[in-house]
């Protein structure tokens, strides 16, 4: 139905050139002409005249633009690779130029708040499911595009850029979107799996960031590998409970986008979320860490949102709750670890 050479005439769009966006643009540019949207004029100039980003050479197949309309006209398939904090704004910026024939695949591992007009998170007594939007839900809400997908999985941008082997999950309710994603991204070094539970896959990528922060903290405290094994497995349970409460299916959480990504991020100093935890444990405050990080660690926002959401469901999420107190309250990280060690988890696995 969709041949390998489809979209030969059309370019592929990439919106957002953070580290992950750049990595995806590079993967795409191996087979197709890519049009990338960037906000900064200097960056657009650098890409178009020097074929480089911040001095690092990129595939000349990548063309940059500041014009959403141009990108939407030239591309049928567009990858949205912007942080969750800017996601709604960018989607609204593109919305007037998007048509029903477009397909959007996003790679953002965060959540957005959907509050009644004029309210902030502080005003809300409880955060319910309808107050939380995954990125695919943002796209469906803000645009006429229905054929939406997401990318998730253990994809550390630096490793992808270095050409190391990896795999990802393309998830969508539409088989054609999955096939399209696979055709565009699959290469000798990059394996692409399909999954139809888009909410579950998005949530896997989002929720694992919480555990990654905790894992960084354990490492920062020098608590060793046994403790990390404990954290990952308890973290997995918590992730599944939270994910189910938001409407994802168990199968997705134990797949590549869930366990796969969790293990990678919990072990990697390349992960931003892990780094946040690590530096917290070394005594820095959240404010200090945030001012010196180049890109957003999605996990911080996720912890806050999920803590509020889980309160409304009445289910306990001990790791998230304690992390919240460390990040936004005055709980010492050592105390949080102590608390978790004493927490009466009686059953090992109770979700299968």
């Amino acid at each position: 139905m969709i041949s390998k050479n489809s979209f030969k005439s059309k370019s592929i769009g990439v919106v957002g050139l953070g580290s992950f966006g750049t990595a995806i643009a590079s993967l795409l540019s191996e087979k197709n002409h890519v049009i990338a949207y960037a906000r900064r004029a200097e960056l657009v100039d650098e890409i178009n005249s020097n074929h480089s980003i911040d001095g690092v050479a990129i595939n000349p197949n990548i063309q940059a633009t500041q014009d959403p309309e141009f990108l939407c006209k030239a591309c049928d398939v567009i990858f949205f690779m912007v942080p969750s904090s800017a996601f709604i704004d960018v989607t609204r910026l593109f919305s007037p130029f998007l048509y029903p024939y477009h397909m959007i695949i996003h790679g953002t591992k965060g959540l957005c708040l959907n509050l009644p007009e004029g309210k902030s998170q502080e005003d809300m007594k409880v955060i319910r499911r309808e107050n939380i939007l995954t990125m695919s839900e943002v796209i469906l809400k803000e645009t006429v595009v229905v054929r939406v997908g997401c990318l998730a999985g253990p994809n550390l941008a630096k490793e992808l850029a270095g050409g190391l082997p990896a795999a990802t999950v393309v998830s969508s309710k539409f088989n054609e979107v999955i096939l399209q994603g696979q055709n565009l991204l699959r290469s000798e070094k990059f394996q692409v799996y399909g999954n139809s539970d888009i909410i579950g896959v998005e949530l896997s990528g989002v929720l694992k960031n919480i555990i990654a922060i905790a894992s960084g903290a354990l490492a920062g405290l020098g608590l060793g590998e046994n403790a990390k094994g404990l954290l990952i497995s308890r973290g997995m349970v918590e992730l599944i409970y939270m994910g189910n409460a938001l409407g994802g299916s168990l199968k997705s959480f134990i797949g590549l986008a869930g366990i796969g990504d969790l293990v990678t991020t919990c072990n990697s100093t390349l992960s931003r979320n892990y780094t946040v935890g690590y530096r917290l444990a070394k005594g820095e405050t959240l404010a200090e860490i945030q001012t010196t990080m180049e890109e957003v660690a999605e996990g911080i926002n996720t912890v806050r949102l999920m803590k509020n959401f889980m309160e409304s469901t009445g289910t306990r999420a001990p790791i998230t709750e304690n992390l919240y107190k460390v990040l936004f309250g005055d709980l010492k990280i050592e105390e949080a670890v102590q608390y978790l060690m004493k927490y009466p988890f009686s059953v090992d696995v109770d979700f299968l």
């Binding site: 139905m1 969709i2 919305s95 007037p96 048509y99 029903p100 229905v146 054929r147």
Partner: protein, 565 residues
């Protein structure tokens, strides 16, 4: 949409009956049936992937199930040659599997021949027999006859038999996007999707379609209804095609879907009850049967494939809600609902609509006593659930015009992707449910039933629903003062929802709260032997039938109003 009634008689949009799509269809009935049978056959062959073994198995299953149906659940409407036909299928199948002399190609052809026979028979059985003369008679029975009854009941004195003071439109109020619907019906193809609470709905909708000056719609009616003569007459007159819920085999279901899809492509306006069957619980449908709905999406794509890209090939979905104070079948519906969800006991259905006599009695009651009905016509949508403007253009939520055709495009071309269309159908189903809740109209009777039931529930917090419903009715009594206070609270919330455009209200809800409550108590389930809600001698609120109270309460399910309690 305003809350105001629309009370006027519309001119027909197509005055000449020969221009009616349904007339054209009935004139070419024979060819149409053949076309459907042929298309259905090809569809099934596609399913079997051209494998003879799969086809053989499908045919054998179909035969087996049909024989079982004839034996276990025969109906009066079944054709007399039913048994003989399936016996014939059986002997052909047996012969064919024993015959070793045939080549592979010959065998395949023979199996396809059998399939051909079956789809043709099914298509013939499903096809409507619209007769214009019947239609005219029915329409005049409904309008004149019922108007007579109505006036007989309401106007006093000798003149009453001839009075035209009241017409059916005083009894059955129409609100909503009627003009928009008329505009689009003359441009494209309409699929009306009403909520379904009572067997009366089909007749009611048929009447409304005629009042609005629209040509008749065809719709799938349960074959069981054709067992009752009076209904059979009405149904045939209104262009009903027959849906036999006993037949659940692939061949039948595919033929049925093909029939619907081809009729839509023919340009005939259709009516689907997307809930599939009457709402058992009294709740507005929240899970829709997507089978027939998928034929709308399919037909839309097929029209685009044929290159009909203008409005004449466009399909418009129009949600409609029918609001009652009283549903005749409520007692048996709710019992059935509870026995299914509670799985407590097997419930033998004894439907109030089971005989012509019962239904006539009901109609008499209905037209001679109070209890109004209102019908809300929602905003027309395209098959993706986008609102459309007066000219049939789809719009996004910012009012930008978009082309529905683009949703079927991949790589620059219209493509057939059944998985995609399945998702679109899901989406359309969700949009229809959303619209139902928005255009639904709250009546005083819904308010009092909801409030009373929630108060009883709050008093018995620890009980689950089934224990709650088993409470002895005589022990339940709500003091009027607190009932009034709670009704007021719920009503305020309903007004808030209304102001946000999330629901509609009947004008009688703008009265004083005491009047509203009185009105509600008088009307809620008014003809039931056991009333769901009453005021006793001391002025307290009591119930005679908790199940019924629960049923009428359910109408306001889905608005989060229970959070007030």
């Amino acid at each position: 949409m305003t809350d105001d009634y629309i009370k006027k008689k519309y001119e027909p949009i197509l005055p000449q009956k020969d221009e009616w799509p349904v007339m054209k269809l009935s004139k070419s009935r024979k060819e149409f049936v053949k076309k459907v049978a042929e298309a259905a056959k090809n569809r099934i062959l596609e399913f079997t992937g051209g494998k003879v073994e799969v086809l053989k198995e499908e045919l054998e299953t179909t035969h087996y199930r049909e024989k079982l149906r004839i034996k276990q659940n025969p109906w009066a409407v079944d054709p007399e040659d039913d048994y003989d036909f399936w016996n014939g299928v059986k002997s052909s199948l047996v012969q064919l599997s024993a015959d070793n002399s045939l080549t592979k190609v010959q065998r395949k052809k023979k199996y396809i021949d059998i399939l051909d026979q079956i789809t043709l028979r099914y298509a013939e059985e499903i096809a409507s027999t619209f007769k214009h003369t019947h239609y005219k008679v029915t329409r005049s029975i409904v309008t004149t006859g019922f108007a007579r009854l109505l006036n007989a009941a309401r106007v006093k004195g000798f003149k009453r038999l001839f009075s035209n003071q009241y017409t059916l439109q005083d009894k059955i109020q129409i609100i909503g996007e009627t003009k928009h619907l008329r505009d689009l019906a003359s441009k494209g193809t309409i699929i009306m999707v009403p909520t379904h609470f009572s067997n009366l709905d089909s007749i009611l909708i048929g009447w409304i379609i005629s009042v609005l000056g629209l040509p008749p719609f065809i719709y799938g009616a349960g074959l069981n209804l054709f067992n009752i003569e009076i209904f059979a007459y009405f149904m045939n007159a209104l262009g009903a095609y027959k849906v036999d819920r006993r037949k659940k085999n692939l061949v039948y279901i595919e033929t049925l879907k093909t029939y619907s899809s081809e009729a839509i492509q023919f340009g005939v306006h259709s009516l689907f009850f997307p809930g599939g069957t009457r709402s058992r619980s009294g709740k507005i449908e929240s899970k829709l049967k997507l089978g027939l709905l998928s034929t709308a999406v399919e037909a839309q794509r097929a029209n685009y494939q044929k290159g009909i890209n203008d409005v004449s090939g466009k399909i418009f979905i129009v949600p409609v809600t029918i609001n009652y104070h009283f549903v005749l079948e409520a007692p048996s519906l709710i019992k059935e609902h509870l026995s299914i969800t509670g799985q407590e006991r097997y419930y033998q259905e004894s439907d109030e609509f089971s005989t012509s006599l019962k239904i006539s009695k009901f109609l008499l009651k209905f037209f001679t006593k109070g209890s109004d009905i209102s019908v809300s016509v929602g905003k027309p949508m395209d098959v993706l659930g986008h609102y459309v403007d007066q000219n049939g253009n789809s719009m996004d939520k910012n009012g930008r015009i978009i082309d529905t055709r683009d949703y079927f495009i991949s790589d620059g071309n219209i493509t057939v992707d059944t998985q995609r269309e399945e998702e679109y159908t899901n989406r359309l189903g969700n949009r229809i449910v959303q619209e139902f809740h928005i255009i639904n109209r709250v009546f005083s009777s819904h308010l009092v039933a909801f409030t009373a039931f929630q108060m009883i529930k709050r008093e018995n917090k620890k009980m689950d629903l089934f224990n709650l419903l088993r409470l002895p009715e005589e022990d339940l009594s709500i003091p009027y003062a607190s009932f009034k206070a709670e009704c007021k609270r719920v009503l305020e919330r309903i007004f808030e929802l209304r102001d946000k455009g999330k629901v509609h209200i009947a004008p009688h809800l703008r009265r004083e709260i005491d009047q509203i409550i009185t009105h509600g108590l008088e009307n809620v389930g008014m003809y039931h032997a056991k009333r769901p809600l009453l005021k006793d001698k001391n002025g307290n609120i009591i119930t005679e039938d908790l199940n019924l109270l629960y049923y009428y309460h359910n109408r306001l399910d889905g608005y989060d109003l229970e959070k007030l309690f």
